[in-house]
Symmetry: C2
Subunit: 176 residues, 2 copies
């Protein structure tokens, strides 16, 4: 946070009740992304804690994570690695399946996504139960990455996802 | 292109034969994205033609388009608008279906993705038959956007996609 001068990003996140299913309040970040000043500030804040730490690649989780990870990679002068849903990457992958707030899924990354020992930062839009992040971290380490930490735009505190990825330096810009 | 000093981005794009189906040679851009210098140069070159033209939002097409559009938005000081596959956006959308090189699909964007009259740049990874780009452009104009142009990383000349979006200022960094 940059204090009193910081734009209130939270006001640009829209609650959508009963999406994708009844009882879930979906946090829609698209109004924040489409606001040029808010998008720039979001990327700057997501990158801030990792500046000067030698991050070599930023990994983003498909699809919304891409919208943030790409900007953070550019800001940090790092490469960008997509962690994709199953079956979307064309070459040999490492994959992990996991359960999430609603349903199950699997993600994967290319086995040669980056050189062994590379310093990696993981970026995603929302930390919910932590299942997706945990799976992504497992994959990144299997490739041989040295995980520097994880940056989220939003953390849903009540789902305690942070506990599932304890041991990692975990940051979030906005909490609910 | 920045001439003789420019890194040869093409050498970082990997041909994957018979993906996603027999007879297709897939252009895998992940080695280019994960190379920090090449990623920075790609974004710089994609943004270059639109500098100083008042682009207010950059629209990216899910999913690979996000990896480029996000960087271009940041570089141009614009907002970022995701054009997503059907059923992924939580609020009221405008959608279009189209056929592509292999199969069919539909994409959509929020009806209030940006203010009417906003200057919009469309960014995607590959111009193939032009079906996806055409559908995205139709949606962006239906929202009320003033389309400034379209920037692709790769153009597959032999598929003549450029003809399908004639009338738009269309740029591509790499041709095959």
């Amino acid at each position: 946070m940059t204090g009193a001068t910081a734009m209130d990003l939270k006001t640009l996140i829209k609650d959508v009740p009963d999406y994708p299913k009844k009882g879930i309040i979906f946090k829609d970040i698209t109004p924040l992304l489409s606001d040029a000043r808010a998008y720039e500030e979001t990327i700057t804040r997501l990158a801030e804690p990792w500046k000067g730490k030698g991050v070599q690649v930023v990994a983003g989780i498909e699809s919304r994570g891409f919208l943030l990870a790409a900007g953070v990679a550019l800001k940090l002068g790092a490469g960008l690695v997509p962690v994709r849903k199953s079956g979307k990457l064309p070459r040999a992958v490492f994959g992990e399946s996991y359960s999430l707030e609603y349903g199950t899924a699997a993600i994967e990354a290319h086995q040669d996504a980056f050189p062994k020992g590379a310093k990696v930062l993981l970026v995603d839009d929302v930390l919910a139960t932590g299942g997706t992040a945990k799976a992504a971290l497992t994959i990144l380490e299997r490739i041989g990455g040295k995980v520097m930490g994880v940056s989220f735009l939003i953390e849903l505190d009540f789902l305690k996802g942070r506990e599932k990825i304890s041991g990692y330096d975990c940051r979030a810009l906005i909490s609910y």
